[in-house]
């Protein structure tokens, strides 16, 4: 598939995530939308990885494991995402315990 398709797909998914962050009030949903953004990036990285793989295969001098960086990066993103989720959810739960809501509109003690 042409790389552009993946590019646009990823950008579209990313933007949907951004729209979600912008339009929702529920902290958990916002967080999910951020995860969606990360996944869009993951998809793009994998697609690029395969693109570079193909470029390298076409090149005269072969290099070891072309395009593998991208996939490893995706792996690390997933690792980070997992860590982030655990902390993020802990924070959301803590907040919920205190104010019994996860509506970000109620977060306005800090302003100006």
């Amino acid at each position: 598939m042409p790389i552009n398709y993946y590019l646009f797909l990823a950008i579209a998914l990313f933007s949907i995530g951004v729209v979600g962050v912008l339009t929702r009030r529920n902290a958990i949903i916002i967080f999910m939308c951020i995860e969606l953004m990360l996944n869009a990036v993951n998809l793009l990285l994998v697609a690029f990885s395969k693109m570079h793989y193909k470029q390298a295969a076409a090149a005269a001098i072969p290099i070891a494991n072309p395009g593998i960086d991208g996939q490893l990066f995706v792996f690390f993103i997933m690792v980070v995402a997992a860590a982030e989720v655990s902390v993020g959810l802990a924070i959301i739960v803590m907040l919920y315990r205190n104010i019994h809501s996860v509506d970000i509109n109620f977060l306005n003690r800090l302003k100006h």
């Binding site: 951004v18 962050v21 912008l22 009030r25 970000i104 509109n105 977060l107 306005n108 302003k111 100006h112």
Partner: protein
């Protein structure tokens, strides 16, 4: 150099020492000592001056330099004295009359406390010091130092009785009006220094004569310098438009009025212009202006003097008027006549002032001539001397005033017959108001209180002796400048001053001269008679029309108040209350306020809402991306 000239430094130094002793020791010295020191130092100066005068008369002149007052790259102003005919003559007038007035003061001021007595003498000594500096200076800067110094002393002495705020106000007025002239004088000095590179008389005059009309010293330069110098002179010598301080200056003790505001300081302007006669001779326009200003001042002051009731005010306006005459002479190019009149005027005006002081003394401080009358009986010496003074100022031969005034009238006639006419009329006015004063004061019946009448007495000898001496001088003082038409080769003054002052070359026939003389003498006599007729028996009358206008001094003070003082005051108020706080300061504070206001507005961006934060961030990103990809490309 003549060895006597090496003593020249003593002339101003002695009064300075007197000033220091009296000033610093004012709480310790007794009145006798203060008076002795005050008068003694002046006496010393007078003797040295005489000594020097002798030497000058035998033809010696010199510039004695002491130290460099200012020495910088391209300019050197030495602290030096110039001893020549003009300065030595003035030295004699100043120290001589100064001495007499010091003596007079010892008695006149005896009621003061000893410390303020000493203060008085220290001021007086300082004045004499400054005045001597003024006439001795060999360059404009030293002259200016003395010039400002006499202004200062005048200020101090007018406000001598500083408890009275009317007096101190008069003192301020005197100083400030003098300063207006001083500014012009200073500018003239600067101009000369820039153009000629020097301030010393000799060098400046040589330069001006050598380079007049060239690009180094153009006709404009001459006009500017001469005009500025003249404006300076109008301040000090109380000419239009800066004369109003002089009548107010009568707030000071009467001897001060005699010394400063009649005999010496006010003639400084005449001295300065006479000193600069080489520049003026090249500036016909300025000369014409001077003659007209002098004439106008003479006439104006004379008319005002007609309707004044304060004995000292009459004399003050008469001084202004006489100074006008001197300027008329200067403007006509008759420098010698001007200096001559300075000399004679110094005699008779000092006499008149001291006489009035004697009257005031006798009247217990009363100065209003409406409350006097018939004093001739009680104050015999005062009366006689005062009469001599009046005759002298009226210009009756053979008293001194006749000769000097006649010289002036003659020069005016030669210069511009119209001016002569006005001047002659003014001379009649002079006689009229002087004799009005004399008659009101000494003749008729006494109009004061009974208490005053009981108190009336002739002044002590310390006061009357100076009167007598001055009266003598008033009589004989004119004989040093007898015109050729009366006595051949008797114009000693003219020949004495010839090396310093250029004289007009016009000759006039003896017949004309005789005619002019007799015209003035007859006119004056008639005027005196008219005054006798009017004021022999004084009746108080409401003044009307023009007379009222004169009585109110042409409303000049009011005019100045409206035109200058008040506008300046209101402008100051405007600046203080509007421009400064609401414009300049507001601009500065406005910047601070704007910062605060901006802060107040910008902080609303920080709404506390995650949604809006993200929105703003996304918008920023979109903007940057848009611009970068589609506009900046």
């Amino acid at each position: 150099m003549q060895s006597s000239f090496q003593l020249a430094f003593l002339i101003p130094l002695l009064p300075l020492i007197g000033f220091l002793i009296n000033g610093l020791g004012r709480n310790q010295l007794s009145k006798q000592w203060s008076g002795l020191i005050g008068a003694g130092t002046i006496m010393g100066s007078f003797l040295v001056s005489l000594f020097i005068f002798q030497s000058v008369e035998s033809g010696n002149t010199a510039v004695v330099s002491y130290f460099d007052f200012i020495r910088i790259e391209g300019l050197r102003i030495p602290f030096a004295f110039q001893i020549d005919a003009l300065s030595s003559l003035f030295l004699l007038i100043i120290t001589g009359i100064g001495f007499l007035i010091h003596v007079y003061s010892i008695s006149y001021m005896h009621e003061e406390s000893s410390s303020s007595f000493a203060r008085y003498f220290s001021y007086l000594n300082l004045f004499v010091f400054s005045m001597l500096l003024l006439v001795l200076g060999s360059n404009y800067v030293v002259l200016f130092i003395g010039w400002e110094g006499v202004g200062l002393c005048s200020y101090l002495l007018i406000g001598f009785w500083f408890k009275n705020q009317v007096y101190t106000k008069a003192a301020n007025k005197a100083f400030i009006m003098n300063r207006i002239g001083d500014l012009a004088f200073l500018l003239a000095i600067f101009w000369l220094i820039i153009k000629t590179g020097s301030a010393s008389f000799q060098e400046v005059f040589e330069f001006v004569q050598g380079n007049q009309g060239t690009s180094k010293f153009t006709a404009t330069d001459i006009t500017v310098v001469s005009l500025l110098l003249f404006i300076g002179a109008t301040g000090k010598s109380a000419q239009l438009p800066l004369y109003t301080w002089l009548p107010d200056a009568m707030a000071g003790p009467t001897p001060v009025s005699a010394l400063i505001h009649a005999a010496t300081m006010v003639t400084a302007g005449i001295y300065m212009i006479a000193r600069s006669n080489i520049i003026y001779s090249l500036a016909p326009f300025t000369l014409t202006l001077i003659s007209w200003v002098g004439l106008a001042t003479a006439l104006l002051a004379a008319t005002i003097a007609l309707r004044q009731y304060d004995i000292k005010k009459v004399l003050a306006y008469s001084t202004v008027s006489q100074l006008g005459f001197m300027f008329l002479a200067l403007g006509s190019g008759a420098y010698v006549a001007a200096v001559f009149h300075v000399l004679t005027h110094a005699f008779f005006k000092a006499l008149l002032f001291l006489g009035s002081g004697s009257v005031i003394h006798a009247m217990g401080g009363e100065q209003d001539i409406r409350k006097m009358g018939g004093l001739s009986g009680k104050l015999k010496i005062t009366y006689v001397t005062f009469l001599i003074g009046c005759l002298a100022i009226a210009g009756l031969p053979p008293l001194s005033g006749f000769f000097s005034k006649d010289a002036i009238l003659l020069s005016a006639f030669l210069h511009q017959p119209l001016q002569y006419g006005i001047a002659l009329f003014t001379a009649f006015l002079t006689a009229f108001y002087m004799f009005r004063l004399l008659f009101l004061t000494f003749h008729g019946s006494f109009r004061g209180t009974a208490e005053q009448q009981a108190h009336l007495h002739e002044s002590p000898a310390l006061m009357t002796i100076p009167l007598i001496v001055l009266a003598l001088l008033s009589v004989v003082g004119g004989w040093i400048g007898i015109p050729a038409v009366l006595m051949h080769e008797a114009d000693w003054l003219g020949s004495f001053l010839a090396p310093v002052l250029s004289s007009s070359t016009h000759e006039v026939s003896h017949a004309t001269e005789w005619m002019l003389m007799s015209l003035s003498v007859v006119g004056v006599l008639l005027t005196i008679g008219f005054a006798w007729f009017l004021f022999r028996n004084y009746r108080e009358r409401e003044s009307k029309g023009l007379l009222r206008f004169f009585e109110h001094k042409w409303y000049v003070d009011e005019l100045y108040d409206r035109l200058i003082v008040k506008p300046i005051f209101y402008l100051g108020r405007l600046l203080k209350e509007w421009v400064e706080p609401r414009f300049i300061d507001a601009l500065v504070n406005g910047v601070g306020k704007t910062v605060q206001l901006a802060g107040r507005q910008i902080r609303f961006l920080q709404s506390g809402q995650i949604g809006s934060y993200v929105l703003l961030m996304v918008l920023a990103m979109v903007t940057v991306l848009l611009v970068q990809f589609f506009i900046r490309k």
